[in-house]
């Protein structure tokens, strides 16, 4: 049984290290996409109507 637990400990530590290394986060991610045309036009970020929301 102690060997099983040793493997379990190693597994948990490995999983944690992997999540810390990869930057894994709990919960949904709010993702979007800006087309290249917007990114490449001067001031495109600021005026693009993608941005919305607020408190």
């Amino acid at each position: 049984m102690k060997h099983v637990y040793r493997v379990f400990v190693a597994g948990v530590l490995g999983l944690w290290a992997l999540s810390a290394w990869s930057g894994w986060e709990i919960g949904p991610r709010k993702r979007g996409f800006l087309p290249a045309s917007v990114r490449q036009s001067p001031g495109g970020y600021r005026s693009y109507n993608y941005w919305r929301g607020g408190k």
């Binding site: 944690w16 930057g23 991610r29 993702r31 979007g32 970020y45």
Partner: protein, 636 residues
């Protein structure tokens, strides 16, 4: 030895006192007890004949003990305490000194004279009490009895009329010491003898191998029960005092030609372990020769258990005790080596035993042979102390106190040891000293868990210090003319490089005071156009009330964006505020920052199994103690 020779007042034959200090001599010619009264001799009449005992010793036997001058056995005293007879041999040393060699149940106890300290009077002594004997130490009274001077041979160091009642107390001391307080026929102690158990080899006794061998292999005797006629096999004929007929249950006195002490017509309980079974346990090959059922009654409920008397010629007697399918191999313990171990506890050989239960044990049924005068209805006060897999037990009667140590055995171990067919009865519940299957695992698992937690913490600190990296920092002033949430207040940072994959921590520090700043944020990968949104709020409030000063919130807050690939990024921050205008804020961006909540989650995962084990161990112990005088949970 400075001897003394005179004529027997009864028959005129010469009597020789080999020890100058001897006061009584049994005349070899006529058997009269001759006492020295100053310069005269007086006869107490003829001494009763010697009671046959299994002793291998004899008058005239000599030996060497512990570097003392050679000794010779010059006297033999037979005492009868009503339930048995034992021999005490007077050892006369070449120096003129003497000592006793007591013999009981095949064991020998060398008892030398010691200075007599002030001790309680006979009537004030109780079995179990402690007595300070001075230099030898503090002893426990194990037996307080009156024995009858049954018979004698040779010479004795005291002047007591045969047939007299002699009072004595046996004591047990540290380091397996024994002591006897001799009260003679009075109330006050007259002599103290201190010694220890010795073997014949230690005594250097010569010329007895044949006798000892004959005793060691004393053959079983085939007899018949005088009550029912059933065949009886006496397996330890030289030691047995009582026999419970396995056919009719009658109790017989083996010291008086199997005189019937109690007649029964049937055996009310059959032993699980057949009498005569032989098994190897604890370094001996034991034969089960006796069986008794005993019980305690608590609040009207009878709790029985079974005891098997085991016999092995060279080791003597042991017990096998079975209660609810739990078995114990029980060995005698020197009471003087049992120490008080704190509240409701005893200590023996460095181990602490906790009180489990106590009561009054009663002998209900006996079958087979026993080395003492057992009788149905015999009662003893008992106290059990446990330290799995051991149980330390005390039994006390008004005359004596006995300690024993039981070692737990599973039923299958007993079945294997005695080569029994079928299987043992299934154990009920948890035995008082049953080893917990969890306790060892708990310690090992917790050590592994703590090691894992240590490694986890080490990895966390290591990642924080060496893997985390600041990738951007900016102090952002807010335009007082721009309104909260207005496009004019929005910040787009300069592009910054995220060198490795991982998360991104965005830390915002703002001088808010009883106000808040909210940032609707996003990081944009300039290469791919991927947008990861986040928000972060900084709010800080303080004030005073009847309890004093209070604060709420913080001027620093963090947001995290997970699993970003390496690349060139820009952050967008759209501020809103309330409760006051914040002059600006500081933004710090770090990559690959380990999250503490994930450390907590990992730690919880690591601890799940150890905590579960502790719970199961706790449940096991709770079950164990539920049957004790100290249950952890009561019905109330």
């Amino acid at each position: 030895m400075s001897g003394y020779e005179a004529r027997c007042p009864s028959c005129g034959a010469p009597v020789v006192f080999q020890l100058g200090s001897s006061l009584l001599r049994v005349c070899d010619h006529c058997g009269a007890a001759v006492a020295r009264k100053g310069a005269d001799l007086a006869s107490y009449g003829k001494v009763a004949g010697l009671i046959p005992t299994p002793s291998v010793l004899a008058l005239g036997v000599s030996g060497d003990y512990a570097g003392a001058p050679p000794f010779q056995l010059v006297g033999r005293l037979q005492l009868d305490h009503g339930t048995g007879t034992w021999d005490e041999w007077l050892m006369a040393f070449g120096s003129g000194q003497w000592a006793w060699l007591a013999e009981a149940q095949g064991r020998f106890y060398y008892m030398g004279q010691a200075p007599l300290p002030p001790v309680p009077e006979f009537e004030d002594l109780r079995a179990g009490q402690t007595v300070d004997l001075g230099p030898p130490g503090t002893f426990v009274v194990t037996e307080v009895r009156t024995g009858r001077f049954a018979s004698a041979q040779g010479e004795l160091p005291f002047d007591v009329e045969p047939g007299s009642e002699l009072r004595y107390a046996d004591l047990s001391g540290p380091g397996e010491q024994f002591a006897t307080l001799d009260f003679g026929t009075g109330r006050r102690a007259e002599a103290l003898y201190v010694g220890r158990e010795v073997s014949l080899d230690e005594l250097g006794v010569r010329g007895l191998p044949a006798a000892e061998e004959s005793r060691a292999i004393a053959r079983a005797q085939a007899l018949a029960c005088p009550s029912c006629g059933g065949p009886l096999e006496i397996r330890a004929p030289d030691r047995t005092e009582r026999v419970g007929c396995p056919w009719c249950g009658s109790l017989l006195d083996s010291t008086r030609d199997l005189a019937v002490l109690r007649v029964l017509s049937s055996v009310p309980v059959q032993p699980l372990l057949p009498l005569g079974s032989r098994g190897r346990l604890h370094g001996g090959e034991w034969t089960a020769i006796g069986f008794m059922q005993r019980s305690v009654t608590v609040e009207g409920v009878r709790y029985p258990w079974q005891e098997y008397l085991l016999y092995e010629p060279r080791h003597g007697f042991r017990w096998l005790v079975e209660a609810k399918g739990h078995w114990s191999f029980v060995e005698p313990v020197n009471p003087g080596d049992v120490e008080h171990g704190g509240i409701q506890a005893q200590r023996y050989e460095g181990r602490r035993y906790k009180h489990f239960q106590g009561g009054t044990a009663r002998v209900d049924h006996v079958v087979g042979e026993f080395y003492w005068a057992v009788a149905q209805g015999d009662e003893a006060t008992t106290a059990d102390y446990v330290s799995p897999p051991f149980m330390l037990s005390m039994e006390r009667t008004p005359e004596e106190v006995v300690w024993s140590l039981g070692t737990y055995h599973a039923g299958r171990e007993i079945w294997e040891a005695f080569s029994l067919g079928g299987g043992p009865p299934r154990p009920e519940g948890v035995g008082p000293h049953q080893p917990s299957p969890w306790s060892g695992r708990v310690a090992t698992t917790w050590s592994h868990a703590l090691l894992g937690l240590g490694l986890l913490l080490l990895l966390y600190v290591g990642l924080l210090l060496f893997a985390s990296r600041e990738v951007y920092r900016q102090s952002v002033p807010l335009d007082p003319t721009a309104g909260s949430g207005s496009p004019e207040a929005v910040l787009f940072t300069e592009p910054f490089e995220v060198p490795r994959s991982g998360n991104l921590q965005l830390k915002v520090k703002a001088p808010v005071m009883n106000s808040w700043l909210y940032l609707d944020g996003a990081v944009i990968n300039e290469d791919t156009g991927a947008v990861e949104e986040f928000d972060v709020e900084v709010s800080y409030y303080t004030g005073t009330d009847s309890d004093g000063t209070w604060t709420e919130g913080s001027q620093t807050s963090r947001a995290y964006v997970g699993r970003l690939p390496p690349g060139r990024y820009v952050a967008r921050l759209a501020p809103q505020w309330g409760g006051g205008f914040p002059s600006g804020y500081d933004l710090t961006v770090r990559s690959r920052v380990p999250r503490f909540y994930q450390v907590v989650l990992a730690a919880l995962a690591l601890l799940t199994w150890p905590v579960l084990l502790v719970w199961r161990a706790f449940r096991f112990e709770m079950q164990r103690w539920a049957e004790s005088d100290h249950p952890w949970v009561t019905e109330d």
